[in-house]
Symmetry: C2
């Protein structure tokens, strides 16, 4: 019987193993400087932070610890976004039923100290993010701990910070009880086959449904639109997802936000009895 932290670690591993996930590192593909091995080490290193979340540590503290552990490999940012979703979900699962309502409460209950730890987590690893909105320079996450005084002055909790990142796929989940994550977890449970295969299919559904924020940030809005449309075509059988995976890796189109959601959905599905 796996604990929530162990299921979260397994979700990190099953997520990266699922293939094809067009544009991602997966069981069959690597990026030039980011390899499957780095994701394995990231999952190993993340566990101690995930265990802190399970033991009732504050969300921000557990997240920072998970990111620090994840970063103990040479690939850079492997699972920052996954952990941002997993940590409140693990904490929720460890204290009672893993429901959307309780997950939302976990996020709403975060404090300014959680926000400060979230900012500190950016010091452990380079994360690709957009420029902050007009007038928000003081709260640019890339400032790391230097942004903490501004956070404290304005009394912003981690939930508030996420609320100001409207339009980011992960932040939208965070502030609304993880609607897409829970929906995909249910679809995975209704699906057939191995867990990693169910994850790969969920990835394609999620990408076909909404433009990926990480693609928008790293490859631009055109690429984000194209990735969504072509995932939809792959889902309809009009494109071969294996070919799409080759092409997107070749072109550096990496739907990282969609991978984060897939990982979180795998976690919820495992907690709800998905067999491995």
């Amino acid at each position: 019987m796996r604990s929530p932290a162990n299921n979260a670690q397994l979700a990190l591993l099953l997520e990266v193993a699922g293939t094809p996930k067009p544009g991602n590192v997966d069981r069959h593909r690597d990026h030039p400087d980011l390899h499957f091995d780095h994701f394995l080490a990231g999952a190993v290193g993340s566990l101690s932070g995930l265990r802190r979340a399970e033991s009732g540590a504050p969300v921000g503290e557990a997240f920072e610890a998970a990111v620090e552990g994840m970063s103990d490999q040479r690939g850079g940012n492997t699972q920052f976004g996954c952990l941002l979703l997993l940590v409140p979900l693990v904490r929720t699962a460890a204290t009672g039923d893993l429901t959307r309502e309780r997950a939302r409460e976990t996020c709403e209950a975060t404090t300014v100290a959680d926000a400060a730890d979230f900012y500190r987590a950016f010091e452990h690893v380079d994360v690709a993010v957009d420029d902050p909105p007009e007038g928000m320079d003081a709260l640019d996450v890339r400032r790391g701990a230097d942004a903490v005084p501004a956070l404290e002055e304005r009394g912003l909790t981690l939930y508030d910070v996420m609320g100001r990142s409207e339009g980011d796929g992960n932040a939208d989940e965070w502030t609304d009880g993880f609607p897409r994550v829970f929906r995909e977890a249910e679809r995975m449970l209704d699906d057939a086959g191995l867990a990693s295969e169910r994850g790969a299919r969920a990835f394609l559904r999620l990408l076909a449904e909404r433009e990926d924020g990480f693609v928008r940030t790293t490859s631009g809005p055109e690429a984000a639109r194209e990735a969504r449309e072509r995932a939809a075509a792959a889902l309809d059988g009009a494109e071969d997802p294996e070919d799409l995976a080759e092409e997107f890796v070749e072109r550096g189109i990496n739907p990282g936000t969609t991978a984060d959601l897939t990982c979180a959905a795998l976690f919820v599905a495992l907690e709800r009895g998905l067999d491995v």
Copy 2:
């Protein structure tokens, strides 16, 4: 900075990810009822036993806990042999220098209680083993806990039990300070490339050097001889290791003992600074 238990978990993951490892489940191949996902779950589940070894629990107790956790997936025996090698190595690393001499001392210091826990571990999962030697029926590992009275009556420690399994690749390592494991760890450190790739090359060297006990047990002595000879040919460039991997998986020739040694060598290499 990964602890010994974390490095052991990472070694389990890097081992199964390495490809091609002719005949094994690896990053690119599954067996009919044994899939990459099962190895991921096995590595997740093993950790709590590995942590016990790190905290100073007796070798047998830690091993049984690791096997129990490993078994929490549908594939059956994924990493029993790996854990048999890893547990004393983790315990050795956690208390001082990880040397052959100290590893041998860890094994020599095992007790009858360790042997009893080793036998109990066989109750968690089906392990393919040979019939016991003449007159040793009472100590057939397949008896599990039922063999414990016979063990106690004869006062056999786990080290003694391993000593009576002469000719088994893992037992020979166990009773002699892990000579092949430490040698391959050094070769891995001298090699270049990603950790999982170094593991796959070590696998081929180990298989080319000595007949695999698991192949002998499950596919017979002819297959064991052939696997060794063809691995040697692959190492010399006379065979394509990818083709060999396809063929061995097809024919069910699975060099599991060689995979165990590869995993243990990865662990020693990680402890000695192999980068991931």
